[in-house]
């Protein structure tokens, strides 16, 4: 019987060739190693504001209010999960007037679990002081990022506490743009009350107007002081009336943050959804070449699958082709 097999013809038949190719591809998928190639990743220092105003619940998740800190944590966790393997992230906390580095850059895939665990357990209770001097903290965070050789992602709502004298931030002394990165504005655009906690960390209502300094009365009085009621150059240089304002309420101080961003050469993005960070961070961060590995198996397997399906399809089409002419027009050649 074997003598009757048209071996030579079979060897040339497209079906055999397709199947043999599929076999070769599947075999290659079994043995081929991952191909090294270069991808772009990021090396970031994420500094997150954990001051009191970050407890404002002006985000909503699943119909429930969510604090700015929780939203920022969710966004950072998502960002870390989405960064390509080999990217590195360092984490710092901001309160008072300086960032506090928790750890130097950690790889985001292999060491994902501890990184994610730390992000999940960030808490305002880690704050060592109550002040929130955003501009000073930002400048120092830029220095820190420069020292670590990373880009900066600084998440804050921009609320200075105590308020800046004259509303003017201190001047930035570094070189704008030397450190690339992003300021992320957290919070809604409408004013919301700031939760207040007792010394054991239990929430006990909200800050009232008289509970927080509404105006910075250190240093020289502002230019309009003379027109204030009860102004006296020696005894009441800021006027006689108690300062009134909305410092006990909080919204994202976007114009202020944009101004800081422009002064320091950083980009600005507003934090909306929890998956909002990846694109602006990619745009703002320095692309860094990372050794990656490309798994070729899906390509090989996909091609093999296409080959097998093609042979089946060809068989089917063959049958149809033989039948169709008869049905349509028996004389027509196909």
């Amino acid at each position: 019987m074997s003598a009757a097999l048209p071996l030579a013809r079979n060897l040339r038949a497209p079906r055999f060739l397709a199947l043999a190719l599929a076999l070769a591809l599947a075999g290659a998928a079994l043995v081929v190693p991952a191909v090294p190639f270069t991808r772009t990743g990021a090396k970031l220092l994420a500094v997150i504001d954990i001051t009191g105003s970050m407890n404002v619940r002006d985000y909503a998740r699943d119909g429930r209010p969510e604090s700015r800190l929780d939203r920022a944590k969710a966004a950072l966790r998502r960002l870390v999960a989405e960064l390509p393997c080999g990217s590195r992230v360092a984490l710092g906390l901001f309160t008072e007037r300086r960032p506090f580095l928790l750890f130097e850059p950690i790889e985001t895939c292999g060491d994902f679990a501890p990184l994610d665990g730390t992000l999940a357990s960030l808490d305002w209770r880690m704050a060592w002081e109550g002040d929130s001097r955003v501009a000073a903290g930002l400048y120092r965070a830029i220095d820190m990022a420069a020292g670590l050789g990373t880009d900066l992602v600084f998440v804050t709502d921009g609320q200075e506490s105590p308020p800046l004298p004259g509303g003017e931030p201190p001047a930035f002394e570094g070189k704008p743009g030397a450190v690339r990165g992003l300021i992320v504005g957290a919070g809604g655009y409408a004013l919301s009350p700031i939760p207040r906690y007792d010394d054991r960390g239990r929430e006990k209502g909200f800050y009232g107007e008289a509970d927080v300094p509404q105006e910075n009365r250190f240093g020289p009085p502002p230019a309009d002081a003379e027109t204030r009621e009860g102004y006296n150059p020696r005894n009441a240089p800021f006027g006689s009336a108690a300062a009134q304002g909305t410092e006990h309420l909080s919204s994202v101080r976007e114009p202020y943050l944009k101004r800081l961003a422009a002064a320091t050469g950083l980009a600005y993005a507003h934090l909306d959804g929890p998956d909002d960070l990846e694109r602006p961070v990619r745009a703002a961060a320095t692309p860094r070449a990372l050794p990656g590995a490309l798994d070729l198996r899906p390509v090989l397997g996909g091609m093999a699958l296409a080959m097998v399906l093609a042979t089946l399809g060809a068989g089917r089409a063959d049958a149809l082709r033989r039948r169709l002419p008869r049905i349509l027009s028996p004389s027509e050649k196909t």
């Binding site: 009757a4 048209p6 060491d111 033989r322």
Partner: protein, 347 residues
């Protein structure tokens, strides 16, 4: 059954939507079709039926294998308990401003190392010495800060330790730091636990918090090591104060007394220089050298190779079949096939 299924997963489960394609070989064939005048004319042939079934099965296996391969199946990681050398080490590190001074109480200059830099250098060597150690890092000054949860990723732990000689914060608030460091131990039982407390000072523990801490220590029962980085000239743990012996007058001594009263294995190491710190760390390492059961987390295993193996097997059968296929049409090209014969699968 579902318990066994839960052991497996797919990296790209969407590819599984292609799986119905594996049924195609049941309705279509890749082999040559021949028109025969009457199928009934062929004698019943058990071997032919077997071959046909085998080829169909091979087709199903090839497509299913390829589709499964595309979905990248894996066996999920598992936790295996083994006996090894290692411990859960929760490090509680003082980040108050005084840690940035030298052991002589000065600003570091020249060859002199600050206390933080010395502990950073020596702790970095301690981490990763034994591969089965788990570490957690907690920092504290006025408030405790969770730096890293309990993890076996030594690279990450070293990154956290690398950050400890940066400028410190204000004050030393021991009680809350201890509470957080204790909370870093998981609920796993049967694991040797060590709390490594590194500070250059102590503070009064509020009596109200003391009871809570006592309860936590009694529940978790870690081996407690206090590495006290003593600045030259400052009181030692053993020193009794001149006047009244109150916690306010001698916080170090009273913290030591508090630790002793906990009823857990406890040792204090007083280090007055980098060499003493190194000795203390070496001794802690030696003390934690008992064989202990540890949980090994096996990473998930890629099973994609098996899927491609299955596909290759099916394909090999199909290739052989394609090679060994008879071609009756070659013979019939002379004979002209009957036009109205029903098409059947030749097998």
């Amino acid at each position: 059954m579902s318990k066994h299924l839960a052991l497996f997963g797919f990296a790209l489960p969407l590819a599984l939507w292609l799986l119905p394609l594996a049924l195609l070989p049941l309705v279509a064939t890749g082999r040559r079709r021949h028109a025969v005048p009457a199928v009934a004319a062929a004698p019943p042939d058990a071997l032919a039926r077997w071959i046909g079934a085998t080829l169909t099965l091979a087709g199903v296996a090839a497509i299913a294998g390829l589709v499964l391969g595309l979905a990248e199946p894996y066996r999920v990681g598992e936790r295996v308990t083994r006996i090894g050398i290692g411990a859960q080490v929760s490090m509680l590190i003082d980040r108050s401003g005084s840690m940035n001074e030298t052991f002589a109480g000065r600003q570091p200059s020249g060859a002199e190392e600050s206390k933080a830099a010395a502990s950073r250098r020596l702790l970095a060597g301690f981490v990763g010495e034994r591969e089965h150690d788990l570490f957690a890092v907690t920092a504290f000054s006025t408030a405790p800060m969770l730096v890293l949860p309990m993890t076996d990723r030594h690279e990450a732990v070293r990154a956290a330790i690398a950050a400890i000689d940066r400028p410190g914060l204000d004050y030393t608030n021991v009680a809350r730091g201890l509470a957080m460091a204790l909370s870093q131990f998981g609920t796993d039982s049967g694991i040797s636990r060590a709390l490594l407390f590194i500070s250059d000072g102590a503070a009064v523990i509020d009596p109200r918090v003391q009871d809570q801490l006592r309860a936590d220590f009694a529940k978790i029962r870690p081996n407690l090591y206090w590495l006290f980085l003593r600045t030259k000239g400052s009181p030692s743990i053993q020193d009794r104060p001149e006047g009244e012996d109150t916690p306010q007058a001698a916080p170090e001594r009273h913290l030591d007394l508090f630790f002793r009263s906990l009823g857990i294995p406890y040792r204090a190491f007083e280090a007055e220089g980098p060499q003493a710190v190194a000795d203390a760390i070496a001794r802690i390492e030696a003390l934690e050298r008992d064989p202990i059961p540890y949980t090994e987390v096996r990473p998930r295993r890629d099973l994609t190779g098996w899927a491609y193996g299955l596909a290759a097997l099916g394909l090999a059968v199909l290739v052989l079949a394609a090679l060994a296929e008879a071609d009756m049409s070659a013979r019939r090209r002379v004979e002209r096939p009957a036009e109205d014969a029903p098409l059947r699968r030749a097998a």
